[in-house]
C-alpha cells in the first residue's frame, strides 16, 4: 500500500544551516524523505538532530538552503512569500507541543482562525455559517462540543491539544504535521491524543508526519524515520522492529 500510493511529500537532499555570528551550525545535511498519501510516519531523533527543523521546512515556516520539497509533485521550496502563506493556509495543518492557541480567542474562534485568515471581511460574512458548522462538527467529534466558548486558559492540556488538532484540520489539509503533540501531556492524555491521530489516519486517510523523541509514541506510526546529525539514519534499530509490528497491526486493521 505504501509503495503503490503516490508520494504527497517528497524531500530530496534538504540542507539547512543556522548562522550565529562566525559559526555556522549545519542542522540538516541532505535529508531524503517521502510521505505517501494516507501514510502515518514518525520522525524520531535526539534533540538537535534536526527533526523539528525538517518539520518546519515541510510546513513552509522556514526556507531551506539547498534541496527540494515537493508537495503533490510540485516544488514548494523557493516560492514567493504570498504563495507560501497561501499553501500553509490551505495544504498544511500543524500541531505543536505547546498547543499554540491564541489566548484572546475561545475554542471555536481558535478553530475558525485559519478560515478567518483565508477570507477577507466581506467573504467571511458569506462563509461564516458554513465555517462555524464545520468547526463545531470537528470540536464535537473531539468531545469538545460543550466547551466551544471557553478560552484556552480554561481548558486542560489534552483539550487544548484537541482544539489545536481541530484547528489544523478545519482547512482540510493534504498533510498534518505534528511536532511532539504529546510532549506536554501526561501519559494517559497523550495516549488519547495519539489515538485521535491514529483514528484520523485510519478513518479519513489523513497523511500525518509526527515528530517525537518518545519511542513509544513513534511506534504508533506506520513507519519510523530516524534522524541523526542532520541525516536520515538507515541503520536498523531496535525501533524498526516495533515499526514493523505497527505496520503489521495496520495491515490487519486494513
Amino acid at each position: 500500500m505504501t509503495e503503490t500510493s503516490p508520494a504527497i511529500l517528497r524531500v530530496r537532499d534538504l540542507r539547512k544551516n543556522y548562522r550565529s555570528g562566525e559559526t555556522t551550525l549545519e542542522v540538516l545535511r541532505g535529508v531524503d524523505f517521502d510521505l505517501a498519501a494516507g501514510e502515518f510516519v514518525s520522525i524520531v531523533g535526539q534533540s538537535g538532530s534536526g527533526k523539528s527543523t525538517l518539520l518546519h521546512l515541510m510546513g513552509l515556516l522556514d526556507a531551506a538552503d539547498a534541496g527540494s520539497i515537493e508537495l503533490d509533485g510540485t516544488r514548494i521550496d523557493g516560492l514567493s512569500s504570498a504563495r507560501r502563506d497561501r499553501l500553509r493556509n490551505t495544504c498544511v495543518g500543524m500541531v505543536f507541543q505547546s498547543y499554540h492557541l491564541l489566548p484572546e480567542l475561545d475554542a471555536l474562534e481558535n478553530v475558525l482562525a485559519p478560515l478567518m485568515v483565508r477570507h477577507g471581511v466581506l467573504e467571511w460574512l458569506r462563509v461564516r455559517h458554513q465555517a462555524r458548522d464545520t468547526a463545531r462538527a470537528l470540536l464535537d467529534r473531539f468531545g469538545l462540543g460543550s466547551r466551544l466558548r471557553h478560552k484556552p486558559r480554561q481548558l486542560s492540556g489534552g483539550e487544548m491539544q484537541r482544539v489545536a488538532i481541530a484547528r489544523a484540520l478545519v482547512t482540510r489539509p493534504r498533510v498534518l504535521l505534528a511536532d511532539e503533540p504529546t510532549g506536554n501531556l501526561d501519559e494517559a492524555t497523550g495516549a488519547g491524543i495519539l489515538e485521535t491521530l491514529c483514528e484520523l489516519n485510519h478513518a479519513d486517510g489523513l497523511s500525518i508526519v509526527l515528530v517525537t523523541h518518545d519511542a513509544a509514541v513513534a511506534r504508533r506510526a506506520d513507519r519510523i524515520v530516524r534522524l541523526a546529525a542532520g541525516r536520515v539514519d538507515d541503520a536498523p534499530q531496535a525501533l524498526d522492529q516495533s515499526a514493523h509490528a505497527g505496520q503489521a497491526a495496520r495491515r490487519k486493521a486494513g
Partner: protein, 549 residues
C-alpha cells in the same frame, strides 16, 4: 477577518493602550479650544480694527496735508469707480490733552483727529462706539442733555457699570459751573472777611470739600435747572459749525470776544477715547476723570513751517470706545472744520481747506488690494500713501497669526508625545504577542496581514482618542463662557477679567477646517507611530516567533 477580530480583542484586553490615547484626547481637545479662542480673539480684533479704520486710507505724508479734498475725492471716484461706497476727509495731528482733576492738571499724549460728523460714521463703525444713543444714530458735536448709557451698549451684560454717566451732559455742566461759582463767591467772601492766608484755600479742589458748600451748590442747582435747559440746548445746537471766515481766531476763542456763559454755552465739542478719561476699578465699575460737559484744553501744532504749538479749550460731548485700548487711550475726535480753522489749514486766498487723509469705504466684496493698487498708480507715491486697513495693522495681525502658528506647533507636539507613548506600548504588545504572531503566520497569515493588525489597532486608538478629544474640545469651545462662570463661582476668582480684555465674554469661533486638520493630524500621528511596531511584527520569523516564550 482575523485582523478585525484580533484588533478588537486586543483593545478589549489591553486597557493600557487606551491610557496612551488619553494624551491624544487631551491634545486634540486643547488644540480645538485654543484654536477656537484664538480665532475668536483674532476675529474680534480684526472686526474692531476694521471698524475703526475704514477699508482704505488715502493720506499724505506731511502733517500739513493736501489741499482741496473734494478734487481728490472726485479723482479717487473716477479711478476706482463703482467699488467706492463712501469717502470722508480727516485731519490727524499729534497733540496733547490737558484736563483738571481735583485741581491737578493732567496731560496726555493723543492723536487729534478731525472728522466730518455727517459722513465719518458712514465709512467706518465709528458711530457704534459712542456712548450716547443719539450720537450712535448721528454724531453731533453739540453737548447732549443727558441720556448717556450707564450700561455698556457693546456688552451683553445688563449691569450698570458706568453710574457716573447718569448725569453727564448739560446737567453735569450746569452743576459744575454752579459749584465753581459758589467756590469763587466763598473765596471772595473769605478774602473780604479776613484776608485768607491759607494757601490751600486758593485751590478749591485740593482742600477738603466742605459739606456746607455742597449744600449751597445743591440749593443753587435746584434753582437753576428748571429754567436753564431749553435755552442751553438751543445755544448748543449751533456753535460747532461757524462759517469759515478770514479771522478764525475770533471764532475759535469765544471767551475772548464775547462774554460766554459756560452754563448755557459750550466750546467746540470733542469726543475723546474712553481710555483717556476713565479707568476701571476692582469692582468692574468705570470711574471717570472727565465727563461729557467738562471742558478740556488741547495743545496741537499749527500747519505752518515750523509748526507752532497752540492751545484751545474744548467741551467733551461723548466718549469713543472701540475696546481696542490702543485706540481708546489715544484718539480724540473733533469737528474737521474747527480743526482746519484752528491749525490754519484753510488757504486765505482760495479758502480751500487741507486734509491729511481721505477714508474710503468700498462696497461689500470689493477687492481691497486691487483698488489700493489702482489708486497707487493714479496718485504719485512720493506724495500720497494708499493703504488698506490690513496694511495699517499689518504687524499686529501678522504677530497674531504667528502666535497662532507657534501655539499650534507646540500643541501638536503634545500629540506627538502621545505618539511616542503609543509607539512604546505597541512595541511592548508586539513583544508580548510574539508567539501569537508566530501562530498566525503558521496558519498562513501574511506579513502584511500581521502588520495590518497593528496599524488597524493604531488607527482605532487614534480615531477613539481624536473622537473623544473632538467631543471634549467642542463642548468646551461652545460652552466656554458657562465653564468660565462655573470656575469663577467655584473658586471665587475672576478667570477672565473684562477690564483687561475689554470683551465681556470669551470669544470662541470653531472653524470646521481647523478641526478637520487637527483630527487628521492626530489620527495620522497615532497610525504613524504604530508603523514601526507593525513592521517589526510583520518581519518576525515564524519559527523564532513560535519558540518565543
Amino acid at each position: 477577518m482575523y485582523k478585525l477580530l484580533l484588533c478588537w480583542r486586543y483593545l478589549r484586553t489591553r486597557w493600557i493602550a487606551l491610557a496612551s490615547i488619553v494624551s491624544v484626547t487631551l491634545g486634540v481637545a486643547t488644540m480645538i479650544v485654543v484654536n477656537a479662542v484664538m480665532a475668536g480673539f483674532s476675529y474680534e480684533m480684526q472686526t474692531r480694527i476694521h471698524g475703526i479704520l475704514s477699508d482704505l486710507v488715502f493720506e499724505s505724508h506731511s502733517l500739513s496735508g493736501f489741499q482741496d479734498p473734494q478734487w481728490h475725492m472726485d479723482e479717487i471716484k473716477r479711478a476706482a469707480g463703482d467699488d467706492i461706497l463712501g469717502m470722508t476727509p480727516t485731519v490727524a495731528v499729534p497733540a496733547m490733552l490737558n484736563f483738571q482733576v481735583r485741581g491737578q492738571w493732567i496731560t496726555r499724549q493723543i492723536m487729534l483727529i478731525g472728522i466730518d460728523e455727517t459722513t465719518h460714521a458712514k465709512v467706518s463703525d465709528f458711530g457704534r462706539y459712542l456712548q450716547h444713543p443719539g450720537n450712535r444714530e448721528q454724531l453731533s458735536f453739540a453737548l447732549r442733555d443727558g441720556g448717556y448709557d450707564t450700561i455698556d451698549s457693546q456688552s451683553d451684560t445688563k449691569a450698570v457699570t458706568r453710574p457716573a454717566l447718569e448725569g453727564a451732559g448739560w446737567p453735569h455742566r450746569r452743576m459744575r459751573v454752579e459749584r465753581e461759582r459758589v467756590w469763587r463767591e466763598k473765596l471772595e467772601a473769605d478774602r473780604r472777611a479776613g484776608g485768607a492766608t491759607d494757601p490751600a484755600a486758593t485751590d478749591p479742589a485740593a482742600s477738603e470739600p466742605s459739606r456746607s458748600v455742597d449744600q449751597q451748590v445743591d440749593a443753587v442747582l435746584a434753582a437753576t435747572t428748571t429754567d436753564a435747559s431749553p435755552v442751553a440746548a438751543g445755544a448748543a445746537a449751533d456753535p460747532a459749525a461757524p462759517p469759515a471766515t478770514a479771522d478764525p481766531f475770533r471764532q475759535a476763542r469765544p471767551e475772548e470776544g464775547t462774554k460766554m456763559d459756560p452754563a448755557r454755552e459750550q466750546f467746540t465739542g470733542i469726543v475723546p477715547g474712553l481710555g483717556l478719561a476713565s479707568f476701571r476699578d476692582n469692582a468692574g465699575t468705570d470711574r471717570f476723570l472727565v465727563l461729557p460737559g467738562d471742558d478740556v484744553k488741547i495743545t496741537f501744532p499749527t500747519s505752518g513751517t515750523p509748526p507752532k504749538a497752540v492751545s484751545d479749550t474744548f467741551t467733551v460731548v461723548d466718549f469713543y470706545e472701540s475696546k481696542m485700548s490702543e485706540y481708546d487711550s489715544n484718539f480724540v475726535f473733533v469737528p474737521i472744520a474747527a480743526l482746519q480753522r484752528m491749525r490754519g489749514m484753510i488757504d486765505p486766498q482760495s479758502s480751500l481747506a487741507s486734509v491729511n487723509s481721505i477714508q474710503i469705504k468700498l462696497r461689500e466684496g470689493a477687492d481691497l488690494d486691487r483698488v489700493r493698487d489702482t489708486l497707487r498708480k493714479v496718485f504719485p507715491a512720493d506724495l500720497y500713501a494708499v493703504s488698506t486697513w490690513r496694511d495699517k495693522q499689518g504687524p499686529l495681525l501678522a504677530a497674531v497669526d504667528m502666535e497662532m502658528s507657534v501655539l499650534n506647533i507646540l500643541l501638536f507636539l503634545i500629540i506627538a508625545v502621545a505618539g511616542f507613548g503609543i509607539l512604546a506600548i505597541f512595541f511592548m504588545i508586539v513583544v508580548e504577542k510574539t508567539r501569537d504572531i508566530g501562530i498566525l503566520k503558521s496558519l498562513g497569515a501574511s506579513a502584511g496581514g500581521i502588520g495590518g493588525i497593528f496599524l488597524g489597532y493604531g488607527l482605532f486608538l487614534g480615531i477613539v482618542g481624536a473622537g473623544a478629544g473632538l467631543a471634549l474640545g467642542l463642548s468646551i469651545a461652545w460652552n466656554i463662557n458657562t465653564i468660565r462662570a462655573g470656575v469663577e463661582w467655584c473658586t471665587g476668582e475672576r478667570v477672565f477679567d473684562p477690564s483687561i480684555y475689554y470683551f465681556y465674554r470669551i470669544p470662541s469661533i470653531v472653524h470646521p477646517f481647523t478641526v478637520l486638520w487637527i483630527i487628521v493630524g492626530a489620527v495620522g500621528i497615532a497610525v504613524g507611530s504604530s508603523v514601526l511596531p507593525a513592521l517589526r511584527a510583520a518581519r518576525l520569523h515564524p519559527v523564532e516567533a513560535l519558540r518565543h516564550d
